[in-house]
Subunit: 311 residues, 2 copies
Amino acid sequence: MDKQELIDCHERIKPFIHNTPVLISRLIDEMAGAHLFFKCENFQRMGAFKMRGAANAIMQLTDEQKRNGVVTHSSGNFAQALSLSAQSLGVKAYIVMPSSAPQVKKEAVKGYGGILIECESTLAAREHESERIVNKHGATFIHPSNNDHVILGQGTACKELLELHPDIDYVIAPVGGGGLVAGSALSVLYFGNHCKTIGGEPFEVDDAYRSLQSGKIETNTTTNTIADGLKTQLGDRNFPIIQKHVEEIIRVTEEEIVLSMRLIWERLKIVCEPSSAVALATVFKRREKLSNKKVGIIISGGNVDLGRLPF
Amino acid sequence: MDKQELIDCHERIKPFIHNTPVLISRLIDEMAGAHLFFKCENFQRMGAFKMRGAANAIMQLTDEQKRNGVVTHSSGNFAQALSLSAQSLGVKAYIVMPSSAPQVKKEAVKGYGGILIECESTLAAREHESERIVNKHGATFIHPSNNDHVILGQGTACKELLELHPDIDYVIAPVGGGGLVAGSALSVLYFGNHCKTIGGEPFEVDDAYRSLQSGKIETNTTTNTIADGLKTQLGDRNFPIIQKHVEEIIRVTEEEIVLSMRLIWERLKIVCEPSSAVALATVFKRREKLSNKKVGIIISGGNVDLGRLPF
């Protein structure tokens, strides 16, 4: 995935996404001892950066593939992102989701025009059901994070950030399935100026941290984190990019995530997901390293259940 | 207060305030059956529109007055706004606050450089203490809402909104002490294009509604509302403006306020005070009147205790 592909991707998806605002806070800067630039993908369409990769992946299909629709299995933001992107592009989206998923997530997918397919709550059942739809409808399976077009799309948030602030020293993104941090690392590589990429990850699901240590893709045995978007694991498309272009993955505790989340809500006056707060938490964790640096923070999304806040 | 005074005021305070963003939401528009433009003063410095009026009032003082400082009694946003404005302008701000006020509000005032003076929790005690400071230090008393310079300053938020969207049909502002709605009405009068001003008020503190009915300034006997910024009453400087230039004051229930607040948080992904949600609640209350209209909503502020949310 070279520089031109990233540029082409960005031009391609521009009509379907927002160039989201970048916010700053003098008080958080003082607390962190650094200059922070928050790229607010919580203001993205459907409330998360996932819209970027989903739109790019669908736009790369042939006309015949578009006629047969797309399928993914996700109970999170990618399900909504693929549904809304597909709707915007006149393509059918089949979304495989466990029947145990919250009703509000099912409704959101249907609200964006997605075709909901319910299944058992195991990964095997989800994969089996997705395959069935591929076979039955000829639909194209689109993975939420381990897909080159998705990775490129997710990287465009960081590209926009660097276009606005070309002298940023570090970009920090939360690490779940690896699509966002890999895409960001590519944007940093092509559009940064002595800039480096850092990943943020909860201790409770530190598969990416361990993967960088061991040199192979590790999995999580437990997923006991408030950062519900970060429970997934890396894949063979994004892991090599992360190995090569992400300087470090910094782990944070659940308490640190909640404190940073509260700080973002109280000071920036925005609603963000716990996953987004992981990136800010790493700044406080590595205070010395980032001292006086210009640091871009990717606020990944804002879809959060207000009835279940941690404060 | 003529058009030129409002223009001069805006130019004067520009270096000390943000021109806050205007957000829209397709989904809220669909729900409301109208085109809504949210002027986000929760992103204003110190988190509320009050910064505008406070800055203007201090800048209008003579050099000698500035040397002697300013004083106000408030336990809300105006206390912080006057402190921060005064700090920015190198002026002392004495803030009279009941000793029973939440510690977090006292800390906020001190954090912005205000000099905190604690007193008993009655209006009489607050007024007495303010007067003592006027006499002792020669400080100038600045009322949070019943002061011409404050009213003009508060009106600049609506002026910015109309500069961006000159074809807005209605501007809706929450009504507490009356400074914001009076200032907004002046901006609508001078810069609107067939535009009208509406006030939003909780049934629980409907003094402004009753004042318009009776033709004299009414008070509240109870203040049992979640919209803690709207418990105050009108004054002789802003009431005549409201009488002449506000088309209607629409009252909403506590439940309607909370529903609208949740909608703003969930869909716009921003943190706003309950008082701000009052303005949106009126849109749903007067669905027919506002059908298909372009409606500006002043989101007054975002200083809210996350530990005490109504959802």
